[in-house]
Symmetry: C3
Subunit: 142 residues, 3 copies
Amino acid sequence: MKISARNQFKGRATVLHIGQVNADVSIDIGGGDRITALITSKSLEDLGIRDGVDAYALVKASSVMVMTADTPLRLSARNQLRGIVVKCQKGTVNSEVAIQLAGGETMTAIITNESMDALELSEGAEAIAVFKSTSVILGVTL
Amino acid sequence: MKISARNQFKGRATVLHIGQVNADVSIDIGGGDRITALITSKSLEDLGIRDGVDAYALVKASSVMVMTADTPLRLSARNQLRGIVVKCQKGTVNSEVAIQLAGGETMTAIITNESMDALELSEGAEAIAVFKSTSVILGVTL
Amino acid sequence: MKISARNQFKGRATVLHIGQVNADVSIDIGGGDRITALITSKSLEDLGIRDGVDAYALVKASSVMVMTADTPLRLSARNQLRGIVVKCQKGTVNSEVAIQLAGGETMTAIITNESMDALELSEGAEAIAVFKSTSVILGVTL
């Protein structure tokens, strides 16, 4: 697929809720992990998304936060995927962190260098990728 | 205008839908392109946005994805603007891509270097700027 | 707290509105400033957020725009926090801007270098941090 979202996960859709305006859809990406997306009910219909359909969940790396596994915090974000840090790369302002999930997929986050330092992340550490369902775009192949 | 959103498009508003909480507004930015924004109904009222009013659609470059023109994918994102790549600039972690739209305006996206490489973008290629209506802020001049 | 959101503000919550799907919550971060978050009503319930509860408002630096204080523009974004620029740091593609708010807290924004140049920001200048309520994640300690 040729779209710039660094995080592209394919999986089976489950429609959780269809409201008048918005719909909640969850995508099973394997390893026990699910990504929840909030899209418009019209898009749901246009894309033909219903239970059991294969769809892509797309998430920009800049929409993803990283939380260390021992943080005593409960968050409103509906996507919180636990995994192992497999890459930490610093740039001049931003850093890139890759977290391998249970199903083998890797989630990439772009965070600031200061956050990178504050988190004391290193390869092999456990961490949680956090993002809102509003940050997820769904795609289906033609 | 002195606001840091790299993408600032002025155009005529059309109010598509006013819900109890949220409203959908489309801005005609010329060249046949429209930008759809999801804002709160209260903001709509406060800003005095109604059909025919001039408004600015503001979109951060980091909220924009880039898709190559031949990608066989249908997306839930309501904004998908087709154009020609006029700039590809790589940084240490992130790259900047500028896409010129039909009306002459340029849309800028910040994507990761790895996405840049994967897309094989080059100046002159056709590409699509993709972003959610929730990523758009509307502005009106005082 | 060990989460990569550059902007983490602790304060007392006020629940503004609970809808069938979404809820509006405002966090008093001191100095007369409030951060409004749009979260799902289910998250509100799960986190036990109600009037008077202490909560964290988390905002990624990449979700924040910067507006100069004299910009004659009214915006749909519900969070517009005024302060003094205390840091401007340029990278190769992105720049980091820190704005000190009335209550002493600092809000960090990542903007593109070209926006940085266009805004002519400098330390000591007045500026406004702008972000949508959908960009805010709320957290409560366990």
